[in-house]
Symmetry: C2
Subunit: 296 residues, 2 copies
């Protein structure tokens, strides 16, 4: 794994030679469009619906916005900013419209299935994943500086073209992201542990408060007493349901493995409570307190 923030190996400027294409103008695509235009790049975007195109034009999310895939012609780099399901099952018209000399990258939160699907489809494909907030979605969601200081992970393979990788690195540097390269499987396991599985852990907490409250005839009370701690712990479980489902679906194996790890840890803590092992429990919680800053 390598990490750096800054210039691409190719030197700055290659990204500016030709327009950048965006497929999709949701949170990630729209935010990229705003930042890239601000950096002086020409941005062309393909969207699915005419109504989206109209609203995206009003928001000036790109210089040219169209529902016709021909808008991508002439682009030197194309970012597939699509939901995971559409990314893994791309429309034939989209595939036909991708210039063979353009570099193609994606923004999906799972990398191994994306590589398996896309590497055979395009010689200059680079799998990547900007780790940016995902509470909002749709054409209204894009904002400036979404990627600033956030990791932008690429998962190149032995057959990834180095010049293509360098161009994606330049893209990440242009939006002030923190560039990281790692193995796709390691990426998928890591995001299962810190993002995809926690959605289910957090959702189960909400369901438990509801069902447990019913069982204790304390439905109203649990709602009245829930405080900032519960709000924090339940936030991602109460987030975008489509996204949560896609993460579990597209990263199924790693998510199931992470749940198994999780169940083991929770059982160990439960056993300490059951056995009145208070000093041992406090020691575990002290470890957690010391551990958490490493993840922030």
């Amino acid at each position: 794994m390598t990490s750096s923030q800054g210039e691409s190996a190719q030197g700055p400027g290659a990204l500016h030679a030709r327009p950048v294409g965006l497929v999709g103008l949701g949170l990630i695509g729209g935010s990229l469009g705003l930042d890239l235009q601000a950096a002086g790049l020409e941005v062309r975007a393909l969207v699915h619906r005419e109504r989206t195109a109209e609203r995206a034009r009003e928001r000036r999310l790109a210089n040219r916005i169209d529902t016709n895939p021909a808008v991508l012609q002439g682009c030197g780099l194309i970012v597939l900013a699509l939901p995971l399901d559409r990314l893994l099952d791309p429309a034939a018209e989209l595939l036909a419209a991708l210039p063979s000399d353009a570099v193609i990258t994606d923004v999906g939160s799972v990398k191994q299935p994306v590589l398996e699907r896309w590497q055979p489809l395009h010689p200059r494909f680079v799998a990547s994943h900007p780790m940016a907030g995902t509470a909002e979605a749709g054409v209204e969601a894009g904002v400036r500086d979404l990627f600033s200081g956030r990791p932008w992970v690429a998962t190149p393979t032995a057959s990834t073209d180095p010049a293509s990788l360098a161009l994606v690195q330049e893209l990440a540097a242009t939006v002030q992201a923190q560039w990281l390269c790692c193995d796709a499987t390691a990426h998928d396991q890591a995001v299962a542990l810190i993002s995809h599985m926690p959605v289910l852990v957090s959702a189960a907490l909400l369901e438990t408060a509801e069902r447990g409250g019913q069982a204790a005839a304390a439905d109203t009370l649990v709602r009245q007493l829930a405080s900032s701690g519960f709000a924090d712990t339940s936030r991602i479980g109460g987030g975008n349901p489509e996204l949560g489902t896609l993460m579990a679906r597209c990263n199924q194996e790693a998510v199931l493995q992470a749940i198994q790890h999780y169940r083991q840890q929770l059982s160990e803590l439960e056993a300490l409570v059951e056995q009145n092992a208070w000093p041992a429990l406090q020691q575990r919680l002290e470890h957690c307190q010391a551990l958490r800053p490493e993840f922030l």
Copy 2:
């Protein structure tokens, strides 16, 4: 369960008749001291160590602050703002110093064990629990307006003196808290579900990220990729270890029951992932999304 914000049944003023005593000047005691003085009340506080007393005097957390229990003489209401373990095992000098005509209340996050211990000890004891933030602790933690708009729960029993209960309600109204009365067992089950058990759920998540990261040889990666979602979900698990342990210890039965409920919910979600039941999973997550605002 009854709920109201405002005047006590006794009418305003009873609280002002005599000084209010505080035992302990940590987050809750110190914050009460600041708010009550601001409301024009005379506040006297008993603390354990001379060094704490000195610092508390510098911070003006009460009008009189002493390590001698005699400081509580003359108080009409005394708030035991002690950690749960010291509350459940009170010092003999403290018990001897509590005036028999004063109303005594506590601020513990568990109510049934507190009632069992304290109701036989003092005829005017009222069990109560202000639900306020607990990230900070100690003599530096007290702040103004900690209780404003937050629930202040009392758990009276058939033998609770109504006039004593009314005085505690006046205290809660004075610091702008939202008054609630409920059964002690229902309270303990509710806080297990929305506060005590979630600490363990959140701690297990931190441990899983660490152990799972090691197992995947992705120790550094999980730390680099953890984002705001992980920060939120892990916050209470990485919080005060003494407090987390005391909550589990003093509310053991309800916490174990809540973990069982929780395990059931998580297993159901896991089964949906295992069985590729994506529409059903999305439906559950949609329910969670709709449910969460009820807890905020």
